[in-house]
């Protein structure tokens, strides 16, 4: 695998790889999101208890899953970058962060819009919501740390370290928030049980998850291309690429 992977450590090859992968991800995300939304909004049956408001889970669950998925892949890229000193992995970290933050924001907003009709409040300090909010802060931390440094090589390494620290801290934060929540029994919430979900609802949900994953891929690849161009802008291959149009 190392032999196969190694050429892509070169920026130019990585750029070409992005270009090759981008259309596949784009098609998957467009098709799945369109199908998933139409199916989820118009064709899936209404929930017995929550009526039509449950349709929000067709975007809430995918975005929540991907907010954590994006963070894990960011952390994996960060470990790769620090252990094998691969610059492109650093760039991948900083390319994933914005779309991960966007997923977290969507999860929070849709969670609030779902919570209002269900619990009667836009926001409750529940363990999962609080952890999600802290995850958003961690994403913002990585992004701002990267932009705070003038020298982008140092910035990339610093962002990687923070991403790794965050991924180690995240379970601890989640655990402590959950423990904190049991102390305050005032706001217990009935969780939406995904295992008992009816297949007619599960299929559009899975399609949406795939679509969102594709979308995260599209944005990460687009941003990775940008970052590659930015840090290689004095190299001949970039100059040639630009002059070709």
């Amino acid at each position: 695998m190392w032999k196969w992977l190694h050429p892509y450590a070169k920026a130019e090859r990585a750029y070409q790889l992005c270009n090759t992968l981008l259309p596949y991800f784009a098609v998957i995300s467009i098709v799945c999101i369109l199908v998933g939304w139409v199916w989820g909004l118009a064709f899936a049956p209404a929930d017995y208890q929550q009526k039509d408001s449950y349709r929000i889970i067709f975007i809430h669950v995918p975005s929540a899953i991907l907010s954590m998925g994006a963070y894990s892949s960011m952390a994996i890229a960060a470990i790769v970058a620090l252990v094998w000193q691969i610059r492109n992995a650093e760039l991948a970290v900083i390319s994933i962060a914005p779309v991960g933050a966007a997923m977290t924001a969507i999860a929070l907003i849709t969670g609030a819009a779902w919570g209002k009709p269900m619990w009667g409040a836009w926001w409750v300090w529940d363990a999962r919501l609080t952890s999600e909010l802290i995850l958003l802060f961690l994403y913002f931390g990585v992004i701002s740390l990267y932009h705070a440094f003038e020298d982008k090589k140092v910035a990339g390494r610093a962002a990687c370290i923070l991403a790794i620290v965050g991924v180690i801290n995240l379970p601890i934060i989640h655990f402590s928030v959950e423990w904190w929540n049991t102390l305050h029994q005032g706001s217990t919430i009935t969780k939406f049980d995904t295992s008992a979900i009816d297949p007619t609802m599960l299929w559009p949900l899975l399609i949406n998850i795939l679509g969102f994953a594709g979308f995260v891929g599209v944005i990460a690849l687009m941003r990775l291309k940008n970052e590659l161009l930015r840090c290689e802008q004095h190299r001949p291959w970039v100059r040639e690429l630009i002059s070709r149009g």
């Binding site: 609030a112 409040a121 836009w122 926001w123 409750v124 300090w125 529940d126 609080t130 909010l133 802290i134 802060f137 913002f140 701002s144 932009h147 705070a148 928030v177 904190w180 929540n181 102390l183 305050h184 005032g186 706001s187």
Partner: protein, 228 residues
Amino acid sequence: MHTQHSYWQLFKAVYTKDVTLAFRQRAEIFNPLLFFVIVITLFPLAIGPEPALLSRMAPGIIWVAALLSTMLGLDKLFKEDYLDGSLEQLIASPYPLSLSVVAKVAAHWTISGLPMVLLSPLFALLMNLEQQALGATVLTLLVGTPLLSLIGGIGAGLTVGLQKGGLLLSLLVLPLYIPVLIFATSAIDTSMMSLAYGGQLAILGAMLAIGLVSAPFAISSALRVSVS
């Protein structure tokens, strides 16, 4: 030469310079706001998530967070201009220094106070603030944050020449913020009881008017002292 037109030109030049610089380094706008949100998040974690308790404490928490995050950007208000000599050029301009100062404070408010005002409904939501208090929160922040920038400007002007003026700056300025804090939170409290809070708002407005008239002169003399 001293026409109204050229005064406006000066104001615009100083204001746009500061706002442009802030937008180029977006962290300057973004970080104090993020600090504001994180501080607010810490309170429910520390005192518990009971909605009744939170909504009782919300006005105080939102306003203390607003004070603290205004303090963050204050240190930099005149620092860069002092270090690169632009401040001397502003003094040696044929226009009154107080006008440039107003422009700089206005720019500071645009990048620190205004986003807080715009985001405040979100924080009201996080803190379970009651619906009827939302208007009061937004209004007090709208009237109060420019005042914070003006008062803070005086402290920033006095400490700009110091090597490590940051902490001293907060010691100087935070006591001066107390009246604003008292009337703003009292206005929100009153509104939660569904009573008229026009009185407190009027006092805040009067303080803002006094601040607008007098603070620029105080700031510009503070700057002259710091530069010499």
